[in-house]
Symmetry: D2
């Protein structure tokens, strides 16, 4: 069972620009993260965009959806989206050393290989149905609704 990872940037991939003193995106750290985790699964990585998730538009979301649809992995039958899709993220950029991203990616890979078809959000070591979760914007915590 192959797993495809779509990269959108986000907190995961933010880096510190030494010249401007601001955060910016250069490229994804996904290979580095997978190597740190000694991952040995059949993974295809594709970068769709490198943006802060706060800046994500509906066009961006449509692009992600289109790519999920076109992915060959686990495309079983009809025109429906018969795949297991797990979205995850990070509260702290990977490059900051003490990031939760490594843990979240591990959990997302565990869930995506085990759960029935559907769209899920993996955060805090838990897995939420995509339509039963919201991010508490004051605390940053993902909560069931």
């Amino acid at each position: 069972m192959a797993t495809r990872i779509f990269i959108t940037g986000g907190t995961f991939d933010k880096e510190y620009n030494e010249i401007t003193g601001k955060l910016f995106f250069k490229g994804t750290h996904m290979r580095e993260i997978l190597e740190l985790g000694r991952a040995r699964i059949d993974i295809n990585i594709r970068t769709l965009m490198m943006i802060d998730s706060l800046d994500m538009t509906n066009d961006d979301r449509q692009l992600i959806l289109d790519n999920c649809k076109q992915a060959e992995e686990d495309l079983l039958a009809s025109g429906n989206l018969e795949k297991t899709i797990v979205l995850t993220g990070a509260m702290i950029p990977f490059k900051f050393g003490s990031s939760d991203g490594l843990f979240n990616l591990g959990a997302a890979l565990g869930f995506v290989q085990s759960l029935p078809q559907g769209v899920y959000i993996a955060m805090h070591g838990r897995c939420f149905d995509h339509d039963k979760v919201q991010k508490n914007k004051k605390t940053g915590v993902f909560e069931e609704i």
Copy 2:
């Protein structure tokens, strides 16, 4: 669904003794790891032993089995072991900063919440049936058999 984590020490919890220059065990870093991962699941942690897995005896293994049996979590019916049990470990101690342990724990928590009852080994982002895997002692890689 509560999850119980049994601690046995292992590579995960090794620390560097500044006086002797050797590795040793002081206590588990599991709380610290879960906090780093922002875990918000119902977890009970119990330390069974603090030893190098290379020093693990059959008595130690029996102790782990007994504790798995007695755990209230997911004990469904008969006298059989009707639980989902996922064993994991680390190639590099957590305190070394660049440990795969954070990734492995994330994956193990993903698998343990999703898979049917059974005993599994989670390493390299994959999940193996407990009786279909062996550790290649030359490369340190877990391989399907």
Copy 3:
């Protein structure tokens, strides 16, 4: 010989705000850095401001100068500024794990305890006279002039 450390924030102390996704200042990490370095010297820490050095005004600089003048440490005689003052900074925030700040602070403490009175800049393992150095704003490197 006591050493006083004045904190102004800067790259050293920037942190990642998990809610807004921006960098911000909360407090100084100087104690943590000194403990990591196992420093055992007589040090007084005083926080003067917590700002990005790019935002530093002449009023801020005057405040730093006033504090240098008033510090009891190494105030030898007349009204002149008879002290050894070493300014340092970081290219990467300490909280990012792979910061040069730990190295720079070590070097600054080495220079400040050894050099004759004067005002210096310690970066890149080197020490520059304060009036013979400039920061190359394209490369971020401090260069002799």
Copy 4:
């Protein structure tokens, strides 16, 4: 003024062997440490040995002394050892992420460029005369005698 760094291994360069679960030496991390510190000084690195300092013999010490004598850097005149020599070390291996080694190396470079000729020990942000310091083997702290 060029600086020569002699590598002897020590706590600085210990690594974790994933197969045996023991600490071992593979090579020096000095270039990596200097790059992390953004060092831009004229440095020559030479590896003399890769051993635990607890295993150091008088022959090893003689080898270090011979190399100090032969180094061209700062060899001013007669047959005497007219150089500034600063010894340093680490309480925690660099590869463990939270090492004091980065701080100690910074301090050692600060001292070696500023102090008059002599042999010194840099630890804890301080510099000791080589014949006025001992390591407290219970606490691991270097103390003046």
